[in-house]
Symmetry: C2
Subunit: 468 residues, 2 copies
Amino acid sequence: MSNQIRLDVNAMMAEYVGPKGIARAELDAMIPELKKAHAAVEAGRGVDMQGWMDLPYNQQEILARIEAAAARIRKEFDAFVVLGIGGSALGPAAVQQALNHLHYNELPAEKRGGPRLYIEDNIDPERMAALMDVIDLKTTCFNVITKSGGTAETMSQYLIVTDALKAALGDEWKKHILITTSEKKGFLIKIAQREGFETFYIPDGVGGRFSELCPVGLIAAAVTGIDIRAMVAGAKEMDQRCKTDDAFANPALLDAGLMFLAMKKGANMSVMMPYADSLKLMADWYAQLWAESLGKNVTLDGKPCNAGQTPIKTLGVTDQHSQLQLYTEGPYDKVITFLKVEKFRATTPIPHGCDDIPTIAFLGGKSHNQLIEAERQGTEYALFKAQRMCQTITLPEVNAGTIGQLLYFFELVTAYTGALLNINTFNQPGVEESKIAAYAVMGYDSEVHTAKREEMKNRPAPKAEYIL
Amino acid sequence: MSNQIRLDVNAMMAEYVGPKGIARAELDAMIPELKKAHAAVEAGRGVDMQGWMDLPYNQQEILARIEAAAARIRKEFDAFVVLGIGGSALGPAAVQQALNHLHYNELPAEKRGGPRLYIEDNIDPERMAALMDVIDLKTTCFNVITKSGGTAETMSQYLIVTDALKAALGDEWKKHILITTSEKKGFLIKIAQREGFETFYIPDGVGGRFSELCPVGLIAAAVTGIDIRAMVAGAKEMDQRCKTDDAFANPALLDAGLMFLAMKKGANMSVMMPYADSLKLMADWYAQLWAESLGKNVTLDGKPCNAGQTPIKTLGVTDQHSQLQLYTEGPYDKVITFLKVEKFRATTPIPHGCDDIPTIAFLGGKSHNQLIEAERQGTEYALFKAQRMCQTITLPEVNAGTIGQLLYFFELVTAYTGALLNINTFNQPGVEESKIAAYAVMGYDSEVHTAKREEMKNRPAPKAEYIL
């Protein structure tokens, strides 16, 4: 059986789903633009912030180094903690959920592939305290991930953790830190060199949300026993499939064109609906990629705009009992992407019983494997009847190869769609304002922050009648 | 310090946030409609599907019974598994996340308040297998929750679990099942009576998404040591605050009016953004309540519509690094609701260090408690500058009382908003189509399902060129 993932966009098209779908003529009219978008993305391959397009090809040496480090960590430690936020956390979490046991951390050591994995992507004070309750510093390795070293959340965690390690371990503490950062830029690399921490590099041209297939994501994956070479090979396979600018042979390009047309028709939301618990956090990873890449207020020509489509994370069948009512009867404002798994890694037969409930007794002798796919098809049909645009991505199985394909597929769809929207897909200027304002609130003294504090005073006074 | 939660809607208003906000005149013009909506909801109190409005008042006896059962379960079992989906799962999960340790299941027994808690709300075959790997049937109690007994997902789990229990335990197996279902209707009550399972009842007028404050949610909460009386008292406190039809004294009514006006202005999304890991799953619970209640295609007068606003689950500060770029620069299509915690239950000081990174060294001597709130304020300010509608709900602390208030607050906002939209807030007809189609796919033989199978054949044939 082929391990290749497949995209089915029939239910995006008016021919299939009716007038609320995309007319074939609309798609045909897009073809020249799609070729242009493909050319633009290819022209940028490996340049500036498109270093992620080189990752399927240029990591032979680094993969071996990661595997060696992972082998040592697996031997020496019982817990591996990622300190990172955004792209430094979402990719590792998604891959862990996809490829390891669903209760991985609760398994006894001999049944796990490696140390327990914790991904600490928030600064909730209760959370750091809770983490300390379940790890033993003596057997814990911390992977500090920040490209610039300037990420306040991650570096404050670094301060907390190094302080605790020193207190618990004395001189040995440095062996419990692994750094993933920029080789040349930023502060963390200087600290790493001074302290002698083992360090892996984030390539210059790889931004946070495009970093899962570089050491940012691959280290945690390797530590927990995932085949990172198969992941990278999967990405390469998808890259090869997408070398053509023929939208009817390049799945990412076809998808970008359809998503772009769907946005024009008023679909300001993209719902990611995996029918597999293992793919649940893939929707979280996608949510950052899609939102931060396409949510922009200026075009490449400098014209104001308010581009972007809001990603929605859901889970099938669970959210049939939560969101489906809205999706079938609410506004025509979304595209729904099913992630379908052809072959699950376990079979759960349903025994006979409940003879006085015919609809339940009927399930006896069947399996959860059949039921989950039947429910997916039932939902697909309900959305078809309600004339909603849907598409399905099928994974023959959830494995390192298909996950690599899927990650890279979405990265390409995002890059092409950004080109179609004529925006800068790879920056995130809108995040700065909140960072500066937060530091102004904290009382940081710099010209910029002092000015910001003054500026913030100019807000209208809140009115008491609006506080209840 | 008061334990009362507060709503601040200043940043919803044009007076504060500028022309993209809601004009005071628009709100004033709504006042008669708000009084009407309040009267409609009050008129329905306790009637038909508004039994949830009685829950703060009519559960004295049942609370005592739940506490007694919970005390026994805590003594006898090491794991407590909820088999339920939708409202039967989302409420219990949200309350567990809010009020128990963030790594509750990983704590040793003596540090937990009760048995480990698993909430099984999907039929992924890998998930049931994974669960069996981490529980011991001999010390596990299963709480089967379905009002009708006809929920295929839950009842198939029931078949699997009872079969496994019988094999592992022989005659003793029945003591490991606890049923939560309708007292009078449906099949599960008959099975429960026949088998002699301990059973709790879901009142007739309490639908899934309004059921957290009845035995559906309270049993799991009590089993893990949560003060369910304080939760219910919190709901009562909120209900009392909302007895008035003066929108400037009734926070749920004011909020409903503003959300309704925001929808009219094109905000087809409601973003729930808690700044606390403990409140993360409250956004999931809210997502069902809001989506399934308001997503309707027909008004109470029988006129076609496509009502509804899509709920978006996020987490601060984490999603500043994922969604904020889109929220500040993308389309003006959302309202953002911050959940702010005034006093966390732990303090995490940030030690000094990183002297060569001034912005990080600056954090030394401060705390994560300060940083998370400063970042929340920074985000609030960035959204203000981008003229986005926001509101803030402040919890003095996350405790059983504030959680009870919050749950009931959102239930009332939903009920009032449904009344404003002139739709049936309490049904979910759109879910049926997918259930019937799924059973048709499975080959179920009934007139309805056979007809559905025929109907499904009438879909246009998928075209091969759309599958890549």
